[in-house]
Subunit: 141 residues, 2 copies
DNA sequence: ATTTGTGCAAATCGTTTGCATCTGA
DNA sequence: TCAGATGCAAACGATTTGCACAAAT
């Protein structure tokens, strides 16, 4: 029985996905995308992904990780978020949702939009538009 | 008519305030506290305060600014907040409230708790406690 | 052939720290 | 006196950038 990682998207899936958003499917982007979208939704830092890549014998520089992460974010494949000054995390869940933030550990956990009801919001200042509403529930852990 | 800055708290006010929270009212802490609490609520970065101090002929090092800001925060005189990775802002408003975040300019603006009604929140994970709920309305400006 | 991406190392930015020197109580 | 503060410069960690090289179209 062959040992295998769960749910790693196929090369062609990833390739399509990159092409679809207009990014050249290079070796490293493909490899990183496969890692990122392999398991369920995650919150990864550049450093995390760098280590993970090394662990999987993927040879990428940290600069390339940052580039890829930003490119993916710009194209809507990822969502960047930073709470406190603990660096940037990239969330593979790009749908509308919120977060628990565990203050001690710095860990993040998704909260579905259904679990938070905001019944009234102030209107955006005249001439402006709301881009997004982020709710962060900070947890004393 | 003497030109004067509005609402700068008196030396004795500031002195009392510092003593009350157990921080020695040193020359620089006094001066910084006076700047910080002079006008209404504000969101200042360490750098902002540094420049402001220089502009007012207050001789403090940046390290001291950071120390003071953190000390004040630890004692509840300020609240630290960071959105995106634009560094830390210190909010002179320590009461429960939320923020507008203007994405282009990086500016922050307070939103009173009354202006946002959250009707349902998920329970905190077992054994943990909610420290605070932060709502950030991101504005495309 | 052309354009776009990558790697590396150096540069930058915000923030922190070590340590010798001051200063308020 | 003497614990607590300050200033400075060096150290830091995260992120960005400049540029020569490599790979994708």
């Amino acid at each position: 029985m062959v040992k295998q990682k769960a749910d790693i998207p196929s090369d062609s899936d990833v390739l399509e996905r990159l092409r679809a958003i207009g990014l050249r499917p290079t070796r490293q982007r493909m490899a990183l995308a496969k890692l990122l979208f392999a398991q369920g939704h995650r919150h990864v830092s550049a450093e995390d992904l760098f280590k993970e890549a090394r662990a999987n014998d993927i040879d990428v520089s940290l600069a390339t990780i940052y580039n890829a992460l930003h490119d993916f974010t710009a194209k809507g494949l990822l969502r960047a978020l930073s709470v406190d000054s603990m660096g940037t995390y990239f969330d593979t869940n790009t749908s509308d949702h919120h977060h628990f933030f565990f203050e001690r550990s710095g860990r993040l956990e998704d909260i579905g939009t259904d679990d938070i009801q905001i019944s009234s919001l102030p209107r955006a200042p005249k001439g402006t538009e709301v881009s997004r509403v982020d709710v962060i529930i900070r947890i004393k852990d």
